[in-house]
């Protein structure tokens, strides 16, 4: 398997663009999808966002300067796309509560999608009530085990900012659980 850097160089040299892009996509698509899915929880939404992300990657890859890792760069695009989606969704579904959303997810969920159980409902609800930035840091830090440096790069913030967001997220989740 070729390195990301080599594939990007070939892509930028217009040397069999589609093949290079396909290889990059296949290498990173799962991680990108999981990152989005943990944030939005519904497969159809995650699928739409993931497609938008990879189309953006195709459009912007020519100007990618390799100052950061390709994976971090794609995560950053995914993060911004997810943030846009969540903000739009918030405006449209202002009156829908988190519990309603989970009930809706279960009602419309795909057959392959495991249903939210008693076990996951508390965690999902707790994660969903977090502000978007804290939600991303919490997920990236715990589930992806990403270093704060990378999280800060994805979010376009400082390492201190990322750390603060993680600890605030933990506190909010704790408060939410105690309240329940």
């Amino acid at each position: 398997m070729q390195s990301d850097q080599l594939l990007i160089t070939q892509f930028q040299a217009a040397n069999n663009k589609e093949a290079c892009f396909t290889e990059l996509l296949k290498k990173h698509q799962q991680k990108v999808y999981y990152q989005i899915k943990r944030m939005v929880t519904v497969h159809a939404d995650a699928d739409d966002i993931a497609q938008q992300v990879w189309i953006k990657v195709w459009n912007k890859l020519d100007s990618f300067k390799m100052e950061s890792e390709f994976g971090t760069w794609v995560f950053r695009i995914a993060y911004n796309e997810t943030l846009n989606f969540l903000q739009k969704e918030k405006r449209h579904k202002n009156k829908v509560t988190t519990n309603d959303t989970i009930a809706y997810d279960n009602a419309t969920g795909e057959s392959d999608q495991p249903k939210s159980t008693e076990v996951t409902i508390v965690l999902e609800t707790a994660v969903k009530q977090l502000p978007e930035k804290q939600r991303l840091v919490f997920i990236a830090r715990y589930f992806d085990a990403l270093p704060y440096e990378q999280i800060a790069e994805i979010m376009g913030t400082t390492i201190g900012g990322a750390k603060a967001n993680f600890h605030q997220a933990v506190k909010k989740i704790e408060k939410f659980i105690r309240k329940d």
Binding site: K26, K37, I55, W58, D112, Q113, P114, T120, A145, Y148
Partner: protein, 151 residues
């Protein structure tokens, strides 16, 4: 599968989360996030490539050589300048509608004369005054006539 924490800070952060939720809860959450319809990722690649191909067909960018860019810009400028000059220097058609007096009814002529009588009188009076002439006003003659009738 969640990567194993490999540094002290990450282990400490993970412990904070694991104090709040059981491992069962956390792995169930992760499993739910990682579950996709069968064959999803294989189809996904093809779907993305098809969308990109469609977009490329719709918005085909034509790259121009610098000479052609200048030539096209000059042509647009030339057309715009010609259009501007042509528009501003076009001969103004000074055609007046000619209407035969026979085509106008007597009522219309009378209405026109009547409605313009005052202005005509004022203009006429001005001209007479300038020429140093005096003409008796029709209104005063009318008044005199009416006085006579009353008497």
């Amino acid at each position: 599968m969640r990567p194993t924490p490999n540094n002290t800070e990450l282990i400490e952060d993970s412990a904070l989360v694991e104090n709040l939720f059981s491992k069962e809860e956390l792995s169930a959450f992760e499993q739910r996030a990682q579950t996709v319809p069968s064959g999803y990722f294989e189809k996904f690649t093809e779907q993305v490539l098809n969308t990109i191909r469609d977009n490329n067909k719709k918005a085909k960018v034509i790259k121009l050589l610098p000479f052609f860019r200048v030539a096209i810009a000059a042509s647009i400028l030339f057309i715009a300048a010609t259009a501007y000059l042509f528009y501003n220097n076009r001969p103004v058609e000074k055609t007046m509608a000619t209407i035969s007096i026979q085509d106008v009814s007597n009522e219309e002529i009378e209405a026109y004369v009547y409605s313009n009588e005052l202005i005509a009188e004022i203009d006429l009076q001005d001209e007479l005054n300038k020429a140093g002439l005096y003409v008796e006003q029709p209104s005063s003659s009318l008044n005199t006539d009416s006085n006579k009738l009353n008497n």
